[in-house]
């Protein structure tokens, strides 16, 4: 081993201990029953169990709704932040990003308290509100980044060629900012699928999401089934990531944080 590549050794050990080993353990546990024998029953159990499937479908639905909500609110916000004539100060950008500095759990608990104080019944509405509040910065920031770095001469060229202000946006600015939107989707959609704390606190456990049932199984020492559910989720996340990577290979370069 050459001198320089030996510098990578600590990182290599770290990765093996904290990334590779847990993944291997998840896979191993998924295919074992409680007594340690090889079995497919954990996987088949999920696909046979109506409750698990409907929870899974609900999680995806909530994730899609939350992502859509984040785009609807986040895109205009990012656009305003990146427009030098509307926003002259970097402070406003920081204000939008600042919630990311506070622990998500604390924000969620605080939000739940606010709803209780206001006497609003916890349910799907409050769940979406909380999720959107938690994940909005992850949508705004990549879009803001792309819009902010975008060469102004593209918009000017469109205007020069006869595009009205709205056409400049729909035909040039919006398509060119799609890499940022793609990064935002990646950063909002996937964590939303696996979240459990937000649904627990903001619906009083009335609505169970996929993350919730994984957590419940593991809390109840049903390690093998919990591992199998985690594996299924990992595979779905991997598939969406790969699909998106193919879809937009430059997305990460321009849009990722």
């Amino acid at each position: 081993m050459s001198k320089r590549s030996s510098w990578a050794l600590p990182y290599f050990i770290f990765l093996v201990l904290f990334v590779v080993m847990p993944l291997v353990l998840i896979v191993v546990y998924s295919f074992q029953d409680a007594s340690g024998h090889f079995t497919f029953s954990n996987i088949t159990k999920f696909f046979m169990d109506k409750d698990s499937l409907s929870t899974f479908a609900l999680s995806i639905e909530v994730a899609i709704e939350n992502t859509a909500l984040c785009i609807l609110i986040g895109y205009p916000a990012a656009y305003i932040l990146a427009d030098k004539s509307l926003n002259r100060s970097a402070v406003t950008v920081v204000l939008f990003i600042m919630p990311m500095w506070v622990n998500a759990l604390m924000r969620t608990l605080a939000t739940a308290e606010l709803f209780n104080m206001a006497g609003i019944t916890l349910g799907k509405g409050t769940l979406l509100f909380g999720m959107c509040y938690d994940y909005l910065p992850f949508m705004i920031y990549p879009i803001y980044n792309v819009l902010n770095k975008m060469d102004k001469s593209y918009a000017e060229a469109a205007e020069d060629l006869g595009a009205k202000p709205l056409e400049v946006f729909t035909k040039v600015t919006l398509p060119l900012s799609m890499p940022g939107v793609a990064s935002g989707i990646l950063m909002v959609f996937m964590p939303t699928v696996s979240t459990f704390a937000i649904s627990e606190f903001l619906t009083n456990n009335k609505i169970k999401l996929f993350g919730t049932i994984i957590q419940e199984n593991i809390n109840n020492s049903m390690w093998n089934y919990g591992a199998a559910l985690s594996l299924i989720m990992l595979i779905i996340i991997a598939i969406t990531t790969v699909l998106q990577g193919k879809d937009n290979s430059e997305a990460a370069a321009g849009g990722a944080i």
Partner: protein, 462 residues
């Protein structure tokens, strides 16, 4: 000239950015079908002017007329002009065809018409068969062609080009220059071209507008500008030149580098200080009996087509000479300058003049500093004009040691000394003649001896 020949007219145009004037009282007209170049160093205001014509910037004062109609207030998308941007600004999410068709589609042109016109311009820029290519896979030169095609497909009345060749390598640039010129001939559209490259301007233009520090210095054909620069800035910026201090003895007779020469200039008065420009290719090596003066060769460098030599004249001035024959350093040579090749220019200024205020008997405040001098003839608080000869301003390495300080912004070599322009932080300019060598952007202290400061009562002062 016929009024209808003017396609664009610019009147008293001024523009400032955060208090700094970038354009000051620009007046100019552009003839229909003409290839006009705005030429000047970076920061001279040429791009600002182009962007105002395109509509991306609004003038502070003055107006821009297109075919007699005021353009101010018309947004860029309604102006019948198109721009070729410096870095092309081709839309990366569209292919070549869609980039070119962008403007036509917005105007709801029928599909067959779009097809026909896109194909025609692609042929014009020699890029047929590239329709389906992704613009990011094209080379710089190819992107340039597509950018031009995208603009001219809309058949604009005027095509604006913002340093379109700046990003290309030398060989490519030369080829594109020829093609642009041909395109201009074929299309018959008016071109307004912005560049800082004087050679490009001389090659391409019908008319050149030389700009510096927000003002037009000279407007003329390339030959006019090259052969008859109106001031030392133009002479120095366009081509190589020897710029020398001289004295106009009488009409058709001028003295410089310690000798008297016949020239063709008249109307500069008698015994008046002038600037004299002699192009390096206009100084001839001749036999002793035909010579006007002698010199000693200092250096000789081969430049491909010609040799570039620096010589010291018998009176101690340095001259640059370009010739097909080489003379080795140390050689004694005999030189001659023909009357036609001497360009005499009025001096823009003969001394520094500042606005000052008397502080007390021996102190005057100007250029943001307190200078010692004899002010006993004035009372404190008087506003005065301060006059200082160019060669009496001392520049100091340490800016703290001077009464004031500034940046070197322009350097002109005048054969036996440097003529520097210093800008103080408040934007005032100080001109200095010196034998010391300074670099552009050097921070210098400004010191003036008390006896070299002359005071004059400011006008309108009771």
């Amino acid at each position: 000239m016929n009024e209808t020949d003017k396609i664009i007219e610019v009147r008293h145009l001024s523009k400032s950015f955060s208090g700094k004037k970038v354009l000051e009282d620009i007046n100019l007209y552009i003839r229909r079908g003409e290839f006009l170049t705005l030429l000047g160093p970076s920061g001279c205001g040429k791009t600002t002017m182009l962007r105002m014509i395109a509509g991306f910037l609004q003038p502070d004062e003055g107006s821009i007329l297109l075919e007699g109609k005021e353009l101010a207030g018309t947004p860029p998308h309604l102006r019948p002009l198109n721009t070729v941007f410096q870095r092309y600004a081709l839309f990366p999410h569209l292919d070549v065809y869609d980039n070119i068709a962008f403007g036509l589609k917005l105007k709801k042109t029928p599909q067959e018409e779009i097809d026909k016109r896109v194909r025609r311009v692609l042929k014009l820029v020699s890029m047929s068969d590239y329709e389906d290519r992704d613009v990011e896979t094209l080379s710089g030169g190819q992107q340039q062609r597509i950018a031009i095609a995208r603009a001219i497909v809309n058949q604009p009345k005027v095509l604006l080009l913002d340093e379109p060749l700046a990003a290309l390598d030398l060989k490519m640039r030369k080829d594109m220059q020829i093609e642009l010129k041909e395109m201009h001939k074929k299309l018959g559209i008016t071109f307004i071209y912005v560049t800082h490259d004087q050679e490009e301007a001389l090659t391409l233009s019908d008319t050149i507008v030389v700009m510096n520090e927000g003002r037009i210095q000279q407007i003329g054909t390339p030959t006019d500008i090259y052969n008859e620069p109106v001031n030392s800035f133009v002479a120095d910026f366009i081509g190589e030149s020897n710029i020398l201090n001289g004295t106009m003895i009488c009409d058709r007779k001028v003295s410089f580098i310690g000798h008297d020469f016949d020239c063709v200039d008249e109307g500069f008065g008698e015994d008046n200080p002038v600037d004299v420009v002699v192009r390096p290719e206009d100084i001839y090596f001749v036999d002793k009996e035909k010579a006007q003066f002698s010199a000693k060769v200092k250096s000789c460098v081969f430049k491909g087509v010609h040799y570039e030599m620096f010589v010291d004249t018998d009176t101690g001035n340095e001259l640059m000479i370009q010739d097909y024959d080489a003379f080795q350093p140390g050689t004694e040579v005999w030189l001659r300058i023909e009357p036609d090749d001497i360009q005499v220019m009025r001096k823009e200024r003969t001394q520094n003049t500042f606005d000052g205020e008397v502080i007390d008997n021996e102190t005057v405040r100007f250029l943001g500093g307190d200078f010692k001098c004899d002010a006993s003839a004035y009372s404190s608080g008087d506003k005065v004009k301060v006059e200082v000869p160019f060669d009496k301003v001392d520049l100091l390495d340490n800016e703290e040691e001077g009464e004031s300080y500034g940046n070197v912004i322009f350097i002109l070599y005048k054969g036996d000394h440097y003529h520097l322009t210093i800008a103080t932080p408040e934007g005032e300019k100080v001109w200095v003649d010196t034998n010391d060598i300074w670099d552009k952007n050097d921070q210098v202290g400004i010191h003036i001896l008390p006896e070299d400061i002359h005071l004059r009562k400011a006008e309108g002062n009771e």
